[in-house]
């Protein structure tokens, strides 16, 4: 056989084998019923932008598994319905996904009222639900459920990381700016208790109704009260409008601002001026840790057309939660909900795997992921246009534990949780 002929045959063989390897896995996966994962994520309303971001995260994890042949030899199908940042819609969506679309698992949530609504439906059917990004302390406290796992840091975790230091640096007279729903209430409650426990005083708490677009009266009132520190628990489109209006009035320079948690999609695109004060987050795309650069590159390659050019905490939570769920299903060898729940309870996740500074784990008593909390502020020396955060400190999870959560959380027993296999 001539050398050229041999090379041609080898090339043809390689050309066939490459796709065959993939298609073989697909073919095997295709023989079994697909595993349906319901993505209960907002595409509209106050958290519409963040909902779309976490959906991309979940989709990336699903894509990675499907490229490997799915999970348990089954192709994974993602089913998304808009929960509209509305608890009533979220209940309907969850009910429909479970009963009509046979979703084996539900993933996604930003608004704590929405997360609570979904989890009640999920518990009724025993469907495992991952609350990816809503961070009211009640989610792993009084509203916890056996089927629900909470992936974000909560308001109390962030407060532990921020409040004491802010009191020392900025003063003891605080004003709370509270989004008027469960996350805002619970986060401000936690802020108040920490401020008062450390000898400070809450001068006033201003409730901000959801979908507030004009903050002028709030900003005038703040000036009349003259606090040392303003602690905002305001999220979604509301915080975007607030930030813009604070900058317009230059009040960012006149007062010390604390924003409990700053989600990346809520600040991306507002311009560097709109980033002010000190705030908490669970991740930043320029953390100097193994795997971060590669992850950012993968995001940019996978989603070249998206407006948010670098991934943030909301995207990462969507990705990590989905990936961990699929890993657990693979390891357990079954989609049985109780087996999956037991495998998740107490599960340890390495810092390297999650691209954070400290190891994380799932608290078996509350089902909340205990993870690194970062304190951040505006970056006055950005390395590039998107480099708008300066990470001030990383706090290990054991230092920011929400001690009240296990007392408030009463998980249903395994027996009281319907068992099913998808």
């Amino acid at each position: 056989m001539k050398r050229r002929k041999l090379l041609q045959m080898l090339a043809a063989g390689a050309a066939f084998y490459g796709p065959w390897k993939v298609h073989h896995a697909w073919a095997q996966a295709g023989q079994k019923k697909p595993l349906v994962i319901g993505l209960t994520m907002d595409a509209s309303g106050q958290y519409g932008a963040s909902g779309m971001d976490e959906r991309l995260g979940a989709m990336l994890a699903i894509r990675e598994f499907n490229e490997k042949g799915g999970v348990l030899g089954r192709r994974i199908e993602a089913l998304h319905m808009d929960t509209e940042t509305t608890p009533a819609t979220a209940s309907r969506v969850a009910e429909r996904m479970i009963t009509r679309n046979e979703a084996a698992f539900l993933i996604g949530s930003l608004h704590s009222g929405v997360a609570n609504a979904i989890s009640q439906v999920a518990q009724k059917y025993g469907t495992v639900f991952f609350n990816t990004n809503s961070s009211s302390p009640t989610e792993s406290g009084r509203d916890c459920h056996r089927v629900k796992f909470v992936w974000d840091g909560n308001g109390t975790n962030f407060n532990h990381a921020i409040v004491k230091n802010a009191m020392r640096v900025n003063g003891k007279n605080w004003l709370l700016l509270t989004n008027d729903y469960v996350w805002g209430h619970q986060t401000s409650k936690s802020t108040r208790s920490l401020v008062e426990a450390n000898g400070g005083k809450v001068m006033e708490e201003l409730m901000v109704p959801q979908n507030t677009r004009d903050f002028s009266s709030f900003l005038l009132k703040i000036q009349q009260i003259k606090p040392n520190v303003i602690a905002a628990a305001v999220g979604g489109d509301d915080i975007k409008a607030l930030r813009q209006q604070v900058v317009q009035t230059k009040l960012d320079r006149a007062y010390a601002w604390i924003n409990n948690q700053q989600d990346w999609p809520d600040v991306y695109g507002l311009g560097p001026d709109a980033v002010f004060g000190v705030f908490g987050t669970t991740w930043y795309y320029r953390l100097d840790l193994p795997g971060v650069k590669e992850f950012v590159a993968k995001y940019q390659k996978t989603f070249p057309g998206v407006q948010i050019k670098v991934p943030g905490n909301v995207f990462l939570n969507g990705y990590l939660a989905t990936r961990e769920l699929l890993r657990v299903v693979e390891e357990t060898g079954t989609t049985n909900n109780l087996a999956v729940i037991k495998k998740l309870e107490g599960r340890k996740m390495s810092a390297r795997d999650r691209m954070q500074h400290h190891d994380a784990w799932i608290d078996p008593a509350t089902h909340q992921v205990q993870q690194t909390i970062y304190m951040a502020s505006y970056n006055d020396k950005p390395a590039e246009a998107d480099d708008i955060f300066k990470i001030l400190a990383n706090v290990p999870p054991q230092d920011v534990v929400d001690a009240d959560a296990p007392k408030a959380c009463k998980l249903e027993t395994y027996e009281a949780t319907p068992s099913h296999e998808a």
Binding site: V208, P209, N211, R213, S217, K221
Partner: protein, 292 residues
């Protein structure tokens, strides 16, 4: 006395906010008053105005040229919408509602496709930006300029409707369209013009409000609800009713924002309920369309 001193800035802020609310409602009022069409696409056209302005600025148009040109371009979209609406004239009002609702969704999705779902910024030029001291309190300069722009637009529209022959035709069209047609006035063209004008006003409001509210595809939802409420509150078709209702809503929202903040958004609905309970036609509902 101290209470009054503290209240005063909130009252003034409420008036300023109210003028902006009135501006949002103006185009909506014009189309409802003259054409008896509830234009549910008003909010999306409001958003489109802001986006088109941002686009023009990105194409290196000077700021003041962009804010003048953008409403005209959006008016063209309004004209297309009016042509689509023609088949619904004289039929059940539900047809017009459904069509404009569909148009609202289409425009919002076009915005998403063209500019993405994320946040955009429309920054005012430096001479309109920054803060100023009013009675010892810091206030955004831009808000005063925005209120001033609202006053200019309100007065211009009023003068146009009252002092020009075309304004007279529009008002006559609102009263009795058949008679206007019988007098030889081209009603089709008149309606097209009114729709374009209402649309341009929606876009202008979107541009004025963009630096305050921020720019996102669904920002129109934040505009269409207060606009609808203001029209009902002021009395459908009443020019000054809409202006006064806008100011009332602004004052109520502004003052409750300061003293009972959790009620600040709800307050406008409570105001509507309270007023409509005693005067179902709204403030100036007795007078028919555009009789200022």
């Amino acid at each position: 006395m101290e209470f009054v001193g503290n209240l005063l800035p909130h009252l003034l802020n409420g008036v300023s906010l109210g003028l902006l609310f009135a501006l949002i409602a103006l185009g909506f009022m014009l189309i409802v008053g003259v054409m008896e069409v509830i234009n549910l696409a008003h909010g999306s056209l409001f958003a489109l105005g802001a986006y088109v302005c941002i686009f023009l600025l990105s194409q290196k148009f000077p700021f003041y040229a962009a804010i003048l040109l953008a409403p005209l371009l959006v008016a063209l979209v309004g004209m297309v919408l009016e042509v689509c609406l023609r088949r619904t004239y004289g039929k059940d009002a539900l047809y017009g509602l459904l069509l404009t609702f569909g148009a609202a969704l289409v425009i919002e999705e076009i915005i998403r496709l063209a500019w993405g779902s994320g946040e955009k910024q429309l920054l005012p030029p430096p001479e309109l930006s920054g803060a100023m001291m009013v009675g010892g309190l810091i206030y955004a300069k831009y808000r005063l300029y925005a209120s001033f722009a609202a006053v200019i637009l309100i007065l211009s529209l009023y003068l146009f409707l009252e002092k020009t022959p075309y304004g007279a035709m529009i008002k006559a069209g609102a009263h009795d369209s058949e008679m206007v047609r019988a007098l030889g006035i081209n009603l089709t063209r008149l309606r097209l013009f009114v729709f374009a004008l209402g649309t341009a006003l929606a876009a202008a409001a979107g541009i004025v409000l963009a630096p305050i509210w921020g720019v996102r595809p669904h920002m129109g939802v934040d505009a269409v609800v207060p606009a609808f409420l203001i029209i009902v509150l002021g009395g459908v078709g009443s020019f000054w009713g809409a202006v006064l209702a806008g100011i009332m809503v602004g004052v109520v929202v502004g003052v409750t924002g300061a003293y009972a903040s959790e009620w600040s958004l709800m307050s406008m609905y409570l105001l509507l309920i309270a007023l409509v309970t005693f005067r179902a036609r709204g403030l100036f509902g007795k007078k028919t369309a555009l009789e200022a």
